[in-house]
């Protein structure tokens, strides 16, 4: 994830690329660097593959720039699958694919800074912003769910303005609590449970992206948008005590 947003496109390689992943499946990668069109392509290609309902595919997902099909390659030969994937790749310009329909906008009440999110000041300084400017940037940018991964339900959210291309810390923070909003390399992650991290902890929320006991354990989907609305410490404490659902007082609306 390091500095990927600003790398130049790797022109010596051609994209998309189709490769085998051990004996576990086949992956279609749309770019060597993270870009908004490649992320859209991966999400759209996943939808097309799922619609095709190929019998070999056990499950599938999209990552930042790829679509992965889990296929037991000790049972199925990869060549015919790769050929079908190549035909699907060639069938349209995936980098121009629209975002999926039925996306949700999540507005999540967020306490920026204070002792509940102690690395805001440091992050703001690295981005060359005052704390007030930083809160404005972090709370008004609509952040897209680029992929769900790493931990259950965990969104990678992009992207903040250029000057938020701040590196990860060299030291790992041993433990940030569930619902923590952390930033690095123009992205946010929102942790579903307490975790060590090298990203900087800038906000606290009551929003849990993994709710194992809920009817909808994974509330977020790639393509969704999130806005982190700033609240005062008093408002945040009130939400914490009144909303135990893991939703953290979040409001949703459908996006077109």
């Amino acid at each position: 994830m390091k500095n990927l947003m600003t790398e130049k496109f790797e022109t010596q390689e051609t994209w998309p690329q189709i490769k085998t992943v051990g004996l576990a499946g086949v992956i279609v990668t749309f770019s060597g660097v993270l870009s908004e069109p490649a992320n859209r392509a991966a999400i759209a290609f996943l939808a097309a593959v799922r619609a095709a309902e190929w019998e070999e595919v056990e499950e599938s997902n999209s990552t930042l720039v790829s679509t992965f099909l889990k296929i037991d390659l000790s049972v199925y030969r990869p060549e015919p699958i790769i050929e079908r994937l190549q035909n699907l790749v060639d069938s349209r310009d995936w980098l121009a694919a629209p975002l999926p329909s039925g996306r949700t906008l999540w507005r999540v009440p967020t306490l920026f800074g204070t002792d509940r999110a102690p690395e805001l000041a440091e992050a703001a300084e690295l981005a060359g912003q005052t704390i007030e400017q930083a809160i404005t940037d972090l709370s008004t940018t609509s952040m897209r769910v680029l992929t769900i991964g790493f931990a259950p339900g965990q969104p990678y959210l992009g992207t903040l303005p250029d000057y938020w291309n701040i590196p990860r810390q060299t030291k790992i923070t041993p433990n940030v609590p569930a619902g923590s909003l952390v930033t690095a390399v123009r992205q946010f992650c929102l942790f579903p449970y307490a975790t060590p991290t090298g990203w900087r902890h800038v906000g606290a929320t009551g929003f849990l992206s993994f709710r194992p006991k809920s009817e909808r354990p994974f509330p977020l989907s790639p393509g969704d948008e999130m806005i982190f609305d700033p609240v005062t410490e008093a408002e945040f404490l009130k939400i914490e005590s009144s909303d135990q659902s893991g939703n953290g007082g979040a409001q949703t609306e459908m996006l077109k």
Binding site: M1, L4, L23, A24, E59, S74, R77, G149, G153
Partner: protein, 341 residues
């Protein structure tokens, strides 16, 4: 009382496991499941039931269990000392644990993960569709002293079989195939990797195990340039300082370090069971070779039921013959297991 095992004491890392949960990869949740899935197939073959039955996985150390009614058991995976009411019972075998009998399972003598199977499987609660604990996702919990583990209805009364397991408890040769990022590594690095003798490092958990080695690391060119990408169990990930980590069943679904290759599922069991400090050497196969070997290994597992043999007890090897409850079988016949639950 309902069919159950009462946990009188238990090692520090025992949990209910199964073959893991599929279908949640796009939600960021890896399959998880037992560390040595082959052991689940062996236990299931011994009891004549499905390998999807939930089992008790015991890491390093077993426990003491009391049966509330006649329960068939099987033992597989890491070899542990086991007794029923003080009499030694054979590992990789099925036995009858009569009502009120006490099963004691000690420390692992070979391998890391031992398995206790029960006829009908454990009937513990499901989390997201299956019973297996996923520690790193916080699904399920470790078994504690005093727990009562409910046991499902059993369709059979057959016990007294053994199975010869595939060798996998001592490390050794680990076969792998190239993966999507293997071409980021120089040929010379790959060659050096396959010629290096690694040792299983103590640093490891259900997400990944570090490989210790002498000499310089195995960094790829462009190590820092790759986009975070899909990770799968068996991936050999090379971290920033050039150290290989083998990703295990509870690994994250994405990772930012390049993978030099991916271990065959049948050989990942060897990594799980390799004792700390044991020697591991990686052998690179073509995709075709790897697929053929894995297909054969899968066929062996699905044919295990045909290869189980009746236990032949040699009285000279039974340490304390008089402690055998030679008549309790007759008594337990009154407790016809099928009449219960």
């Amino acid at each position: 009382m309902n069919r159950a095992l009462i946990v009188r004491s238990i090692g520090p890392a025992a949990a209910i496991q199964d073959l893991g949960r599929t279908g949640f990869m796009s939600a960021g949740l890896t399959r998880g499941g037992a560390s040595d899935p082959a052991a689940l197939h062996e236990g299931a073959a011994l009891l004549g039931q499905m390998p999807s039955c939930a089992v008790l996985e015991m890491a390093g150390m077993g426990g003491v269990f009391e049966a509330t009614s006649d329960i068939r058991i099987a033992l597989s995976g890491a070899v542990m000392d086991a007794t029923i009411d003080g009499a030694t019972v054979q590992w990789n075998s099925s036995h009858l644990l009569s009502a009120c009998s006490v099963l004691k399972i000690g420390a692992a003598r070979r391998g890391n993960f031992g398995y206790l199977h029960v006829g009908g499987g454990f009937a513990t609660p499901s989390y997201l569709g299956t019973q297996g604990c996923h520690m790193s996702a916080g699904l399920g919990r470790l078994i504690a002293e005093g727990d009562i583990l409910p046991v499902g209805k059993d369709a059979s009364t057959d016990t007294g079989f053994y199975v010869v397991p595939e060798q996998r408890l001592d490390g050794g040769k680990i076969r792998f195939v190239r993966s999507m990022q293997s071409d980021k590594f120089e040929d010379s690095t790959m060659t050096r990797f396959t010629k290096t003798e690694f040792r299983r490092d103590p640093r490891g958990n259900r997400q990944g195990i570090r490989m210790d080695f002498d000499g310089k690391g195995f960094q790829s060119g462009g190590q820092l340039n790759i986009v975070s990408e899909v990770t799968i169990a068996g991936d050999i990930q090379i971290t920033g300082d050039g150290t290989p980590f083998v990703l295990m069943h509870e690994c994250q679904t994405t990772g930012g370090y390049p993978r030099i290759g991916t271990i065959l599922p049948c050989d990942l069991n060897k990594v799980s069971q390799a004792p700390i400090g044991s020697s591991l050497k990686f052998e690179l196969l073509t995709l075709e070779e790897g697929a053929a070997i894995q297909a054969r290994a899968s066929a062996v597992l699905s044919g295990l039921r045909k290869s189980i043999k009746p236990l032949i007890r040699d009285v000279t090897t039974i340490q304390d013959l008089l402690s055998y409850q030679l008549i309790s079988g007759a008594i337990s016949a009154k407790n016809a297991p099928l009449d219960e639950g």
